[in-house]
Symmetry: C2
Subunit: 506 residues, 2 copies
């Protein structure tokens, strides 16, 4: 499975060195999406690992010459959404993980990172230099800081809306041109990572979830180490508690008291990283209520749970806690565990204090066998009633397809992002046979309520993009028009986010 012109491979090798051109079967397998139901659908032709933006530019020029589709990845850890694999079988993975430069400006709380910089890399860098800036990390922090922000990943602190903290990009355009956005567009500007807008149209968001360019540097704002972090881990006993819990927290989220995005997750979100299904039942069908009760009892977790945290000056954090206490006064919570960290205390070692972790990846082992999962993540209005409806409908579909419901609702400033995982065992053909139709049923259900996914697996990018249908898919026409203008040969990530180049449109 390698339809790339051999002359192209030779040109790539001449440009970046033979060792950085990977075309063996083992290589191709290394870049497959091992979480996917069918890995072969997305097998790449090989991979290229440039060391610099200049090498990326060279690769792009060669790719244009030989019409080689490239699939840029940062570190390729986009588990649940495709990992490192391309939408189209036979594309060449452009692996940027060797590009690992970090430039921190401690005084302003900003960093300029290359795509290969992982959360652990940046954390270690800050720690080793004693720089008092905190990361916001996703649940599983194996990935790239830049890649995660560009894919609109989220974290747990008040800097958790990573895409909104991007400030300035360096991008190799599909024709090999190199552009810097915002204030970086001024050669030598000290404001590149400080002021977002620049002059004229803003382009940073155009390169999010995008195939319009290859980001080679990304400016990101980091949180100054706060004086204190405080909050609660709340547990809620009943499925119905979701509604009032959201209606209690959302006004405080909207009015700015809560600045992180609390994510209320069900018992399985908590349990799947601590235990496996077979320890509790041998039955294949829907989990018995007694099994759920036993697991919850063992780990002392609610049907739902949420971590709420305040970051800042101790006085302000304490005042915020009083407001939160009043809001939850007389509410029927199952339990709450207070959390308090003060500057000088040892690090908490948790994502809520900006420390990268990878244990949540363990949830792929829930069913045993070769584990995997796929994410279903619609956005809905910030209402407890609508969240309850969404929960009930999604839960019913999980039951119908014989899957274990795994969900969370992350409270954005004005919206809820309902992140669900479909956990599966790839060695169970009966189970795997249900995944695709279940996923399509979920997307159709969301779309019927006019809820769109915020992010999706490479298998479903067209399906999800199709839901964005205003004025007979005007957004697709705009996307396509810009795509054709910037990438006339269609070499960058064909099919990403449902955007296809000329001649390849489904």
């Amino acid at each position: 499975m390698n339809s790339i012109n051999p002359a192209a491979w030779r040109a790539f090798a001449a440009a970046i060195g033979k060792d950085q051109v990977m075309i063996t079967e083992e290589d191709r397998n290394a870049y497959a999406d091992h979480f996917a139901a069918d890995e072969s659908k997305h097998e790449p032709a090989g991979a290229l690992a440039p060391a610099s933006a200049e090498e990326v530019r060279e690769i792009v020029r060669i790719a244009n010459q030989y019409r080689v589709p490239l699939w840029p990845i940062s570190r390729g850890k986009n588990f649940g959404y495709g990992g490192s694999a391309p939408v189209t079988r036979g594309a060449v993975v452009l692996d940027l993980s060797r590009m690992k430069k970090i430039e921190v400006d401690a005084a302003t709380g900003t960093v300029l990172v290359e795509p290969g910089v992982g959360f652990f890399d940046l954390y270690d860098h800050l720690q080793s230099k004693g720089i008092p800036l905190w990361l916001s990390v996703p649940g599983n922090s194996w990935g790239s800081v830049a890649g995660n922000a560009l894919d609109r990943g989220v974290g747990y602190t008040s800097y958790g809306d990573h895409a909104s903290r991007i400030c300035g990009l360096e991008v190799v355009l599909p024709d090999g041109d190199l552009v810097r956005t915002g204030m970086g567009a001024m050669d030598g500007s000290p404001n590149w990572t400080l002021y977002r807008n620049g002059f004229g149209p803003g382009w940073d968001t155009m390169f999010c979830q995008s195939n319009l360019g290859i980001v080679t540097k990304l400016g990101l704002w980091l949180m100054p180490e706060p004086e204190a972090v405080a909050g609660y881990d709340y547990e809620f006993d009943k499925p119905e508690d979701l509604g009032w819990a959201i209606d209690t927290l959302m006004p405080l989220r909207r009015d700015g008291l809560i600045q992180q995005s609390p994510s209320i997750g069900n018992w399985l979100r908590s349990a799947a990283v601590m235990t496996t299904r077979e320890q509790w039942t041998k039955d294949d069908g829907p989990l018995d209520d007694k099994v759920v009760a036993a697991i919850r009892d063992r780990f002392k977790i609610g049907w739902w749970s949420v971590q709420v945290r305040f970051y800042g000056h101790l006085d302000v954090v304490e005042a915020s806690m009083r407001v939160l206490d009043r809001a939850f006064d007389k509410k029927p919570i199952q339990s709450k565990k207070p959390a308090l960290w003060k500057r000088g205390d040892p690090p908490e070692g948790s994502p809520v204090t900006g420390v990268p972790v990878s244990f949540p990846l363990a949830n792929a082992n829930w069913h045993g066998g070769r584990g995997g999962h796929v994410g279903y993540s619609p956005v809905l209005p910030p209402s407890g009633d609508l969240a309850m409806d969404q929960f009930k409908r999604t839960y019913a579909l999980y039951q119908q397809y014989g899957m274990d419901y795994h969900a969370s609702f992350a409270m954005g400033e004005r919206s809820l992002t309902n992140v669900n995982q479909i956990l599966y065992n790839k060695d169970d053909p009966a189970m795997m046979g249900r995944v695709d139709s279940m996923f399509r049923a979920l997307v159709a259900d969301a779309s019927a309520h006019r809820y769109g996914e915020y992010r999706t697996h490479i298998d479903y990018m067209d399906l999800v993009a199709d839901c964005y249908d205003f004025n007979d898919h005007a957004l697709r026409r705009l996307n396509t028009r810009v795509k054709d203008a910037l990438d006339p040969n269609g070499i960058i990530a064909p099919g990403k986010s449902g955007i296809w180049p000329k001649g390849k449109r489904p």
Copy 2:
């Protein structure tokens, strides 16, 4: 001065009604930039006032047919940056001020506005319906809510970075297509004004300071009425106080304690809206220190002054005040006036509590005669030392050109925006003869330090865009490439932000 094909005028009249096609000399004069040094350079050929997005689409189709350059304005009150006048003489103003629909969602704190909605309109709408949402208004609130946000105007509350509160647009593209961005791209989505990103590339910022489309609806987040607002009006006695004042406030701005952008302005910013120059001196030259002292003494103002405000729950606001007090402990301030508003108190009637005002426009009368001004607004890093340097260099240039220094430094989360006004009397030819060379000297000075303007007058869009020169003006190539793809006939706002269509590039 009307080189538009008469058939085009007839077609426009057929599309939107004869009364909405304005082509008399009086009409042309009404849309000129009366603050500009030379109004004739920007005289439009006439104006069109559509009532709906459908009419805008019709106009765009006709403009493409007859190659009529359109200059879209919302309400045209962009004083200091061009008002309602086009960059190119002879363009047709597309006046959207009749489009005044307002759709507020009180529960989520969002609004969808058409471009004709002014700050006073929206304020009155909220007041009349008793909706507890606050505006963030610019110093002079005559303008359009949407137009101001799209031009990256700023206000005084914690929602003062207006562009960052945009959530979803409806845009007529240059070919007449109608697109909705973000979640609006899903027909009938309830999330259009709630979730910013949508799926795939984000386009909202592409339509800021832009000539790539005509925004016909804009989603904006509004601040829920806080429980309390508190803070201080600080006055500082000496020019040198600028440095330490910025270095005292910026860490609190960066760490999130202060969520608005305090703007520290010099004595003339305060005085020019309360008095006129001739009441204090008859001399043309630089103002005597004694005159400055007398004005300051009369109005009890510092050489610099700044308003700092906290918005939110009373407990938190009070805690924030304690942190602020500690930060200013033993600092040599001239005076501080505490401010406290609590829910239920009568409105303060000030921009810091979201009430629109227009008195700051009075600064145009400082010199007497037909007043005007032009804004010079570079962005610099958030450092007291660099601000002092910038102040001294700019002050020296004002002295050299015999102008009265009028400046402020607005503290963004990671940057300073140094907004200066050059106030002038259009009836004073000697003074007017100095403005252009002075402005060019200021831009050159900023550029030498690699500071770019965040916004500029239509006279200077090319000059400012030229400073964004990384990789031989890669940003311009990107802007132009998208411009050509979306607007091949170059009909939308040629020259805006230094972006020119094919065949018209300088």
